[in-house]
Amino acid sequence: MHTRRAGAGALLIECADGAEVEAWRAELWRRRERGELAAVEIVPGARTVLLDGLADPAETAGLVAGWAPPPAAGTAQGPLIEIIVRYDGADLASVASEWEVPVSQAVERISGTELRVAFCGFAPGFAYLTGLPWPVPRLDTPRPRVPAGSVALAGEYAGIYPTASPGGWRLVGSTDAILFDIDRDPPALLAPGTRVRLVPA
């Protein structure tokens, strides 16, 4: 763990891997709830956790150094959400051939793996789901429009498009789940730390 200054009011905590990110995210969340950390935003990334809206980042860096190391990820598990997925994506066959397995086995791999929300970004409610040990390359040419509810893979992540948008991820399926709802608290179905299963319809 290493901290970097990110301007006058923020700190970036660098971690060795995604598991350490989740451990720190959960730990910092708990510290904030207990009133031990005053941060407006706690934003996990792929290998970092950003603390923003700090009154004194240098002082917070000292505090964080004293808290290390947090308990390993998994000791306090997030909620489990099952999302019903139709495995009918236009790129499912290309993912299967990338993995050198039949399509049915590709579906088993995706649906049989417990995923976890590593971080959000790109759009409100878009969660980067980690856990699949078989990375796939992005499309060479992004699609101009990917429909809302598309379940897709890219790199080490799976994701579900909350709204229609351009996108370069490989589409493996679709869901009717509402990923982001401004009248729900929290508005995102898949917040960082949530465990996710992409259950076949």
Partner: protein, 281 residues
Amino acid sequence: MIEVLRAGPLTTVQDLGRPGFAHLGVPRAGALDGPALRLANRLVGNAPDAAGLEVTAGGCSLRLRSAGTVALTGASAPLSVDGRPAGFGLPVPVPAGAVVTAGRVVHGVRSYLAVGGGIAVEPVLGSRSTDTLSGLGPAPLRDGDRLPLGEPATPSTVDFVPWQPPPASLALRITLGPRADWFTPEAVAALLGTAYTVSPVSNRVGARLTGAALTRAEAAELPSEGVVLGAVQVPASGQPLIFLADHPTTGGYPVIAVVDDVTPLAQAAPGTTVTFHGSER
């Protein structure tokens, strides 16, 4: 209730934004020139966080159904009520049914029009701000839109507010990092030692700059990480982009430095010269 007669090129509802949801991918949004919105609100007797209109460059025209008070701040622009010139940066009484027109800006980019009672559209995640990146909040105004107003309070009695035109060149204080070490020493020297120009493709997401390209020392792809307001992100072109209120919450390009206060960029017209200096100056 106000009726939008002419929305202009980009007029949005803005308050002080919706911080606290970045971990869910929700940008902060909010007025780019926060002090100007707060001043406009104060002039008409609103709370500082009331929603007003951020009017970009080309002006707009509205009709107030009931008598009220308006104030125009930020980028200087001619204000008129039923065609009669009215004061900039002052509380202006408006009769019922009168047409309020903010003209094309003279100095700056974004004017703020506050109306007594505030724009009372339904808040989204605690804010009435339009987020042009994610589409949260009310859509940018269109001709014919009707916007509800809140209950007005007593307007301010000030009759003079000092105002200075935005400078032709900005000197912005930065803190290097978090990824300054991903760049060559020459790139850091260029950022601190050469002048950049605000590009016309700048918007509420970011102020795009043109100038000396900032070259990377580290060629690896940066895993996505959280970014802050004022982050100076450097995409593959090497031309820096300073993130403003509608910036994405995470990004995959390294951030060489962070601008301490982005407020002046709200009023930096294309062609404005920008230089950067560290806090030691």
